[in-house]
């Protein structure tokens, strides 16, 4: 009785609003439902076939760009976060005791800050920074002032710069979080390991690659998976920052955007939106399993 009384509400709510919609999405993916009509027909796997020659050019660019973000974002963020975390925790002196650089506490506070800002606010701030110089864009105006080349139409208006620009914002907002995360993992590594290495004359670079990184492997692996999920979520930035929510000329379409536009935008095809969602779901599943397998190593005890 007691158990049931405590479970009925949370489980009920969860089944109704999370599990049911997911099951329905699989069902809708097999239909030609626009989402706004009352009737629909089951069309088998047509959506899954048709999405690959989608005339709106959302799907293939979407998968390509999401794939690029998925490859690039975790590598950059983890490399930078590890470097910063190492500097702030062990990189202080090359002789004597183990300590971080001066001002480590301050850096940790500052770097983490973007993490607490809402993505919508980050998007608006960076959209302003990326604007063309004629409308007061910070970055382009700065480049103009020192005489370097800059994009006339702003960073978000250039087909070659829009995607790197979006990735840069994602990096900007997430490095601090992983720095703090890796820091706490590093704090768990016993000091005497470092001291011994130092006495033996290991340089900081060597200390990092031969001691810190192997001992931190499990945290890196976790971070990798979470960053993968963030990479798939890049849609909010694209939605708010880029022209026509994926432009210019489809050069920043992401897969979340394709789903959103089919379901709620001008796509008007809930069946297609759900089918892309199902493909995304399977891709996430496969990626998680594969990356867990590939990065699996023997656990180092300390």
């Amino acid at each position: 009785m007691f158990v049931a009384s405590f479970l009925v509400l949370p489980v009920g709510l969860y089944l109704w609003l999370v599990i049911m919609p997911f099951i329905q999405a699989f069902q809708i993916s097999l239909t030609d439902w626009s989402g706004y009509t009352t009737g629909f027909n089951y069309i088998g796997f047509d959506n899954f076939i048709n999405m690959w020659d989608d005339p709106k050019q959302w799907v293939i660019p979407g998968f390509t760009h999401t794939g690029i973000i998925l490859l690039v974002l975790p590598v950059i963020v983890i490399a930078m976060a590890l470097f910063f975390a190492f500097m702030l925790n062990v990189g202080g002196r090359s002789q004597g005791g183990v300590s971080g650089v001066r001002g480590a506490g301050f850096y940790k506070i500052v770097y983490f800050f973007p993490q607490v800002l809402a993505t919508a606010i980050i998007a608006i701030v960076w959209a302003q920074i990326y604007k063309p110089p004629t409308t007061g864009g910070l970055l382009a105006s700065a480049l103009e002032a020192v005489g370097l080349p800059y994009p006339e139409n702003g960073f978000m208006g250039s087909t070659s710069l829009v995607l790197p620009g979006i990735i840069a914002v994602m990096v900007w907002s997430s490095v601090g979080f992983y720095l703090v995360y890796f820091s706490s993992a590093m704090a768990a590594i016993p000091q005497d390991i470092y001291e011994a290495a130092r006495i033996d004359g290991a340089s900081r670079t060597k200390t990092f690659f031969q001691i810190t990184l192997p001992l931190l492997w499990e945290s890196v692996q976790t971070a990798w998976i979470y960053l993968g999920i963030i990479a798939l979520d890049g849609f909010v930035l694209v939605f708010m920052m880029t022209p026509s929510q994926g432009g210019p000329n489809h050069s920043s379409e992401v897969i979340g955007g394709a789903i959103y536009k089919f379901a709620f935008g001008s796509g008007n095809d809930a069946g297609m939106a759900s089918a892309i969602g199902v493909v995304l779901f399977l891709a996430v599943l496969i990626l998680t399993v594969v990356s867990l397998r590939v990065t699996r190593r023997e656990r180092i005890e300390f």
């Binding site: 405590f6 479970l7 329905q24 940790k108 770097y111 608006i124 004629t134 001291e195 996430v284």
Partner: protein, 299 residues
């Protein structure tokens, strides 16, 4: 003081390398890495400072000279953002939704996690796995059916509806995290309370919840920030109720097509207003927030 000090399981830390050589490279590395640390700190701080400064400037000034400092404070930017651009209303809406959703998430999450962690009953493992599985689903997949569900029961475009959805989507992680936490609590105290005549409900409210306080605080911070950050759910589920919109989407509408006429100075004031409470809360509680979010997100 030799290699013998190394615990046997670590990789070999090769000795060698002349110390003088090392010091030299150490210095170069020092300058380089300090430079990089300072550069990144500036990259984080500058945009925030830039927003704060420009929030006091007139629209035309910002466009003609984005680096300038305000010659006179244009306080009307803030009034414009708060009243005319409706940010005051959006802010209030966000607070209303969060009050409901965070309370609900914590209450339902703690209840479910508690029985899953400390009671043996058929289906225990099944329910736990069901919640955990929810962490893997991309929200995008459920967005359209969710929209239809909320529409059918008339909760679309309402604050209560939005709060309920936030709760449902925050449950997987909250339950996962708190189950681990409740499991770690000592059994002795619970047994003692039972012997003293406390019922199951009393045990939960008066003994277990207070004991779980550190875990509850972590996950509350995590949920507050996560739900304050929500963009996609309110964008879709509040799209017909413009006045009831939350802050993140409301701000976005300032920059979208419909809001093109919005004054740049007002936009900056709006950004500053949206950032300020977060910035202050962060500076005051940065230690707890960092701990709460890293513990919350990556357990």
């Amino acid at each position: 003081m030799t290699t013998a000090q190394l615990p046997p399981k670590t990789e070999k830390a090769t000795p060698s390398r002349k110390p003088a050589d090392d010091q030299e490279s150490g210095k170069v590395l020092n300058v380089f890495s300090h430079g990089f640390l300072i550069l990144w700190a500036a990259m984080v701080i500058l945009p925030v400072v830039w927003v704060m400064i420009n929030s006091f400037r007139a629209s035309g000034d910002i466009k003609s000279d984005p680096f300038g400092i305000p010659l006179e404070a244009h306080w009307e930017n803030f009034a414009g953002a708060w009243v005319e651009a409706n940010l005051g209303q959006y802010f209030l809406n966000t607070v209303i939704v969060l009050l409901m959703s965070v309370t609900g998430t914590m209450l339902l999450g703690a209840m479910a996690a508690y029985v899953l962690a400390r009671y043996d009953f058929p289906g225990n493992r099944f329910f736990f796995m069901m919640f955990v599985a929810g962490m893997m689903f991309p929200v995008f997949l459920a967005l359209f059916p969710l929209y239809k569900t909320m529409d059918n029961v008339g909760l679309k475009d309402t604050h209560v509806g939005l709060a309920i959805v936030y709760i449902a989507y925050s449950l997987p992680f909250t339950v996962f995290f708190l189950t681990a936490f409740f499991r770690s609590l000592p059994n002795g105290v619970a047994e003692a309370a039972m012997i003293d005549g406390a019922g199951h409900y009393r045990l939960f409210w008066q003994v277990m919840l207070p004991m779980a306080k550190p875990g509850l605080i972590s996950i509350t911070i995590f949920n507050v920030i996560g739900q304050w950050n929500q963009f996609l759910l309110p964008l879709v589920l509040m799209n017909r109720n413009k006045d009831g919109q939350v802050l993140s989407v409301g701000l976005a509408s300032l920059t979208s097509e419909a809001g093109k006429q919005v004054d740049t100075g007002v936009l900056f004031a709006g950004m500053a207003l949206a950032m300020l409470p977060v910035l202050i809360a962060y500076i005051l509680f940065q230690r707890q927030i960092q701990a709460g979010m890293t513990a919350g997100a990556l357990k």
